[in-house]
Symmetry: D2
Subunit: 339 residues, 4 copies
């Protein structure tokens, strides 16, 4: 059940409602929105009796919730989740936020070059993998701790926000100390131990859709993180696995409006991993913007042809500049702001 | 193999090359393009010897072709296929052509109302099914011959081009006499008897991708039609079948740039059938335009809530007007012309 | 709705119930079973009122049916459909019927050799394609009419039943004149014109599951045939299209018990087309028998390595002998009879 | 590359070859088989020069390996991996090993009842989840440490081997102390941190195929475990995600002979999770045996209708007895031994 408070409800009133929820044996999850606060109730089996709450001061409405997920529901925050990553605002409908960088952190020199280039281009969040989930144990597994150190150093020196993947509960602390956003990869979307752990982290979580995840499973994975207390979640579509073989995965853009209807969480699109071919990144990035995505994650590098991983899908600096030039008039026409 | 002629090659030279191809036991398929003519060779098993052709006057180059399809290849017509449907130009990169109308032809009154509305909106091709492929034998199967008669009458009276589905070789003649474009539905994409038959028709063919067709199978289905002699083919992505259940099918927009890279045929997108939900037609139509599709097929009706088929995905007049208002600034920003 | 008659209901009573159904504006579909007759009602929208029928003499029970399909429902014929093809009984639980032969009819010599071999092995139904649905227009399309003539001649001379694919309504008459069973291929499972046409044929129909057909769509395709009046339908699983690439298609054996629970129609398995690799035909054929399939369709030829189509999945005579030797003890253990 | 030693090669000769491999900068992986030892080489990029090894005493042959996986390859152990779990032999072709038990450990009483029942039935490995991967954070997550304690106690008291899922690197030690086999669930098949960690464990690993894993990805996941030094791996097919909706997942039995051709690892089948419906567990279990699987994992419980998870697919004691009665004659006919 969802308890929606009045716009002028006081902090004390919110506290009182939470106390009543606990008294009934459930957990309250207050979520302050722009206009008002809503309180989600979890821990119940079956329907919750609204009577104890409806009469409390400051309560406007009790909404029964039948979906398997609760905290991620659009009704919890009708205006949408919006937060800042090192000064760059994500979500909220107007922002179209670009996250870019190489697949793997390969050296301080490489990361510095990319960071400088991106800042020049007006991009404020740098990606780069230190721990790489690789299908084969014989493939390059990332620079690991050294990669984290490079990311931290470049992020601080170049004043750019950073995001990197975390693959293991044991590594969450170290990753959180080195990067601004914790990425959960597609293969770990249902690594529930990891979801619970990053639910306790302070840094926002960038959660990629699993390769065969339904929308409900995707939202429930996010629900794990919110349920742990971390409300800074960004979802990301990165292609699903189908019979189609003309792209590496099948980019399911229809998930963008579908997520936005059901949930208040921002939804990004990663065309690089979905398509796996550099030349199609641009048209699919434009499509992502046009259908309303909140942002992009794109692979770009100073030397994609010699990348240690995923070079075939990585844009060169020139390619990235052209992508931005294509996106800008589109964003203007759509009333969106690239940041 | 593909024989590319010089820009200034004469008609007589083209004829002579064709005669030589026949002499070697193969079939020539001359395809006049904007700048020059290319001649495809079929009927060969294994590589074709270029020697007999290279020395002929007017021949510029012989290109070996290893793909399973030949006539649909981009190399056959690098500038892209472009043709007119009752005065409306389709293909060619700049045009973004909208085909719209109800799922089924239900009455002359309905079709007249929709035709008038569309013409007011600047849309020049009217869809409407007379023969409906329905999963259940107990569902409405279309008005059949009566539907064809209505379509013909409304098309002539309202001076609007028409397109309708043909499901059977025996019906091709009647459908061609009543409509301007022959639609092959997704379930018949590999009905090879039908493909061969419409390859002999004069009217253009609108070929929908099968629900589990790979790109190669899709292009080979078109190859059947071109091989029959009918070069007026439009491809259409309408969603593929995957595990995902948040939309009726999964709209695979990445097929748009993939087709355009490999083939000279125009590629449209049908968001209505792919998504199955009215509210998501608009964002996906915008994405189709943004990723470079040559046009849209959209379901619209005067009374979608009482449609005999597929009402849930059909736009109202108001919904269609809003869609156009959203598409127009986007088209402008992209240098495209809605027609 | 389904009207179940008493075991001792007379023919006149059945007629009277049918007359009453027509009087109410619906179509009756009497289906005589081993023990009793059931009458399906179609043509209704929404629930049918049972009152006019319940009081009629000979009526035992009126069962409301909510599924989209009716005539194929298990309740229509609880003991299962069973019929003979040139003396060989198909269906009924105990029979495990093998249909075998080459992918394509290539010559009278080839078909005679295969027919003689199969009869020696105790196999009574010979397959062979005269019209071949080929993905590419440049692949061998079958001997067509000549192939039909060969099939007819060999069938009569060698006294073996024959089955061949029909791809077009216009060809149904000719195919029915030449073969004992009409095969509808996977690509035509939703060619509704063809389904309606074979519903009017006298010969049994062997209906292959479409490559991305759900169980409901599969059963509704069969419903089209039964609705046309042809109750001799055999279903066949031949692999579905998924992301998995270790076999040509993914053989979905779980459809066997699923069909048998919902429908009275026999369900066969075609491991050759599903797997696409000769070496795995045997284990999957054994699995098909073990999970309860009513029969197999297997490709076998005198010279598979030089077949004009699908040689890679076709067993040699030796391979087929070994398959039978493997199946026999299994059939005995399961209380089944290979025929 | 794979170095195959002579049948009579001495331990010292094996050591010497390994030393040479290290000297060249690679890692040797000796795998003693029944007849002879093979040594896999990893750590190379590109082809390995066989010259330094071919001349060494005891070396019979150097086989270049081009597949992405090496240690799991059939060539490494042509006779197949075979090992004992608390006295019960798994693998080797003749054994058909049944692992059974409830989805979740719910109480010592329940687990004791199931253990006693299974031992009576001749089943020697008991499953039961202490940590449950649940799609929703609000579903029962397992008894966790208490569940482990129950499993350990019941395993020791009832002298039955135990298997339970481990979801997190941090829990591997505790799980290994409580159970005989470590299960990796489908959602964690590409949790590479976890694969690396269990590669260092002593207990065998039961690795379930991911819901959209290709055969290559499945084998490479196992390669991670073998690469870590743990050669006791059992693979398990448990259904893949497709469009088909008549079962929970689509059981891909063709992976059984496909794995057995490529790899020496035993391959089990879990029909309960694949199908999700109790009534179809029996036919699919029979199919698994018939196509050559090395064993089954089946859910059975004393009270499936009140299970805290997955009750719908869990057999009752009676249902399990019937399953065994069906499997036994089949096993006899196939020359297999149920253990």
């Amino acid at each position: 059940m969802l308890i929606v408070l009045k716009p002028d409800a006081t902090h004390a009133q919110v506290e009182k409602v939470c106390a009543e929820v606990k008294k009934q044996g459930f957990q309250p999850h207050p979520m302050p929105g722009a206009g008002r606060t809503a309180i989600g109730i979890t821990g119940n089996k079956g329907p919750v009796n609204p009577l104890p709450y409806e009469a409390l001061p400051g309560v406007e409405q009790c909404i029964p919730v039948t979906k398997a997920y609760k905290l991620v529901l659009r009704e919890m925050k009708p205006e949408g989740t919006r937060f800042k990553i090192k000064g760059t605002e994500v979500g909220g409908g107007k922002n179209f936020t670009i996250i870019a960088g190489p697949c793997s952190v390969e050296s301080a020199k490489q990361m510095t070059a990319v960071a400088k280039f991106l800042k020049d281009q007006g991009v404020h969040i740098l990606r780069g993998g230190a721990f790489k989930p690789r299908t084969s144990p014989y493939s390059f597994q990332g620079l690991e701790d050294e990669g984290l150190a490079i990311l931290k150093e470049v992020g601080e020196k170049e004043k750019i926000a950073t995001i990197t993947e975390v693959m293991d509960t044991a590594a969450v602390e170290a990753v959180e100390a080195s990067a601004d956003v914790l990425q959960i990869g597609a293969r770990n979307m249902q690594n529930f131990s990891l979801l619970k752990r990053v639910g306790k982290a302070k840094a926002p979580v960038f959660l990629k859709r699993g390769m065969s995840a339904t929308l409900e499973e995707f939202l429930l994975a996010a629900e794990y993180v919110l349920h742990g207390g971390n409300h800074g979640v960004i979802l990301c579509e990165r292609g699903v696995r189908t019979f189609a073989d003309h792209t590496r995965n099948t980019l399911d853009l229809s998930v963008v409006p579908s997520v936005q209807k059901l949930s208040h969480l921002p939804i990004f699109v990663d065309p690089s991993h979905a398509i796996g071919k550099r030349e199609f990144v641009e048209p699919m990035a434009k499509a992502a913007l046009a259908c309303g995505a909140d942002g992009l994650m794109v692979e770009v590098s100073d030397d994609p042809d010699h990348a240690l991983s995923d070079g075939a899908q990585t844009l060169s600096f020139k390619g990235f500049e052209r992508l931005l030039q294509e996106l800008k008039p589109l964003a203007t026409a759509l009333g969106r702001k690239i940041n």
